[in-house]
């Protein structure tokens, strides 16, 4: 066991309708080798033993690839380190005696379900509005590698597809804009020949769904790009701006 002592200020909210508040917790014997989520596990273990309600937070793979974990830690999405998710954040990034704020993602489109858990269903609905390619699975499938694709395009599509949909971009943005997410999802198809037939409707429908969900507008400040655990570039937002402009001007 380690010997770090920390003061945590954590958002507690009983359910979606309840009024939440920041609650102080003291934790001790924290090892610098623990991940941030393991540190919360230690706290929850104690809360359960004391007969208190444990703190609800999202997590799944704890390998930084699933996009389940979130948390606005010490004033930043996924905490102070760049290009990692909360599960990959380790307590060595903090000092003994630190006071750490832990809050849920804040956006009207991401309502709090309980404590630190928010409903990110808005992302699923945006994805369902056009984030796919329609493939005829009846009969002869064409080999994916039969189509020549420039290396640079395939690299950029792959970089965009690295988005895990965690919502850090929305959490970082003062406008709660989902543009980086939508841009990544549009780009990963827009760059590939398989994505072109549906490119126009994809851009139009995904942006419409994004607006309908109540996300804010992009003001190009770039906070999302800095906080994205997968380093999704603002280049993708410019690509979405081009895709949408072309689609809007030429739609019939």
């Amino acid at each position: 066991m380690g010997n770090m002592k920390l003061t945590l200020k954590i958002w507690r909210q009983a359910d979606a309708k309840a009024k939440g508040a920041m609650v102080d917790y003291q934790v001790s014997d924290i090892s610098e080798d623990m991940s941030f989520l393991e540190m919360l596990d230690v706290l929850n273990d104690r809360l359960v033993r004391e007969g208190q309600e444990p703190i609800a937070f999202d997590h799944d793979c704890r390998e930084g690839i699933c996009g389940a974990c979130s948390l606005f830690i010490d004033g930043r999405p996924h905490g102070p380190s760049r290009h990692i998710t909360t599960c990959q954040l380790h307590m060595r990034k903090f000092k003994d005696g630190d006071v750490i704020h832990v809050e849920p993602w804040r956006a009207g489109a991401f309502p709090v379900i309980k404590d630190l858990v928010v409903d990110r269903g808005a992302f699923d609905r945006i994805q369902a509005a056009g984030g796919f390619v329609s493939v005829n699975t009846m009969g002869n499938l064409v080999d994916a590698n039969a189509q020549p694709i420039p290396k640079l395009d395939s690299d950029k599509a792959f970089d965009a597809a690295a988005c895990i949909g965690c919502g850090a971009c929305v959490a970082a943005c003062p406008n709660s804009s989902a543009m980086l997410f939508v841009a990544a999802k549009v780009s990963q198809y827009a760059l590939l020949p398989q994505g072109r037939p549906e490119a126009k409707t994809r851009a139009l429908n995904m942006v419409e769904q994004m607006d309908t969900e109540g996300f804010g507008n992009c003001t190009n400040i770039g906070a999302c790009e800095i906080e994205c655990p997968k380093d999704i570039s603002l280049e993708n937002i410019a690509r979405l701006n081009r895709e949408y402009l072309g689609a809007e001007l030429s739609k019939e």
Binding site: K9, W11, M22, F72, D74, G75, R76, P80, H101, E103, R106, A107, G108, A109, A172, P174, N175, S176, S177, V207, E208, M210, D211, T212, G214, F215, G216, N217, C218, T219, N220, I221, G222, A223, I226, E227, L234, E235, I237, A238, R239, L240, N241, R242, E243, Y244, L245, E248
Partner: protein
């Protein structure tokens, strides 16, 4: 609610913001260029000649209406975006380190724009209103050495007040911060982002944001100090 129409979607609002912003930037070039004629220090003769042309030419007068329309569009569109963006986060963070991931001025375009608008109202009242004979006129200032109406003399008079000079310099600071984000942001909104040219756009944006406000601020300051008379 889905947003549709000419100002419908979030992206269409951003295209309008970028297009009107770049249009207003083009106006700044003309405005700063013509006003810089006072630096010939010839008692305002060259400047008044240009001011006369700008005030009487039919194309320029028509563009003046387009300019006001562009400005109003930029302001109204900006307010709509601001309102939607505030509504998108009903509960704010108790503790947020915004400076860790973005510049303060890029997050403050609304307030900087409001300061510029307030300055603009004062500025129009000082010069545009009398020179278009809406309230008052240029008549009390007589004519210059070339026999033209003397807008230059009005400038000298307005900028003899130190409070006015300070207000104008502060207005130029607001413009500087607004342009520093706005110039390159307009290109991004229109989708003009390419590794090869991003550096050039950022450099032009920074250079423009410095040169134009400095040139503007130099006018009231140099007149107040008596360097231009």
């Amino acid at each position: 609610m889905a947003r549709q129409g000419l100002f419908g979607s979030s992206l269409i609002k951003k295209y309008w913001m970028a297009l009107t912003g770049l249009f207003l930037i083009s106006f700044l070039v003309a405005h700063a260029g013509i006003n810089a004629m006072i630096f010939f220090n010839d008692g305002g003769v060259t400047f008044n000649e240009w001011a006369h042309f700008m005030g009487t030419n039919l194309i320029i007068r028509t563009m003046e209406i387009v300019l006001f329309a562009g400005l109003i569009l930029h302001v109204v569109d900006g307010l709509m975006l601001w309102r939607q963006n505030r509504a998108a986060r009903p509960v704010d963070y108790a503790f947020a380190k915004h400076n860790a991931n973005s510049k303060w001025y890029s997050r403050s375009m609304g307030i900087l724009g409001t300061l510029i608008l307030l300055f603009l109202i004062i500025h129009l009242w000082h010069f545009w209103v009398p020179s278009r004979n809406i309230v008052g006129s240029l008549e009390p200032y007589g004519s210059d050495a070339a026999g033209r109406e003397n807008l230059f003399a009005l400038m000298i008079e307005v900028f003899s007040n130190p409070v006015v000079v300070i207000v104008y310099v502060l207005g130029c600071f607001s413009l500087f911060w607004h342009l520093l984000h706005g110039f390159k942001s307009a290109f991004q909104s229109l989708g003009l982002n390419h590794r090869k040219y991003n550096g050039f756009i950022a450099f032009c944006g920074a250079a423009f944001s410095i040169i134009v406000p400095v040139l503007f601020a130099a006018m009231p300051v140099s007149m107040y100090l008596g360097w231009i008379k």
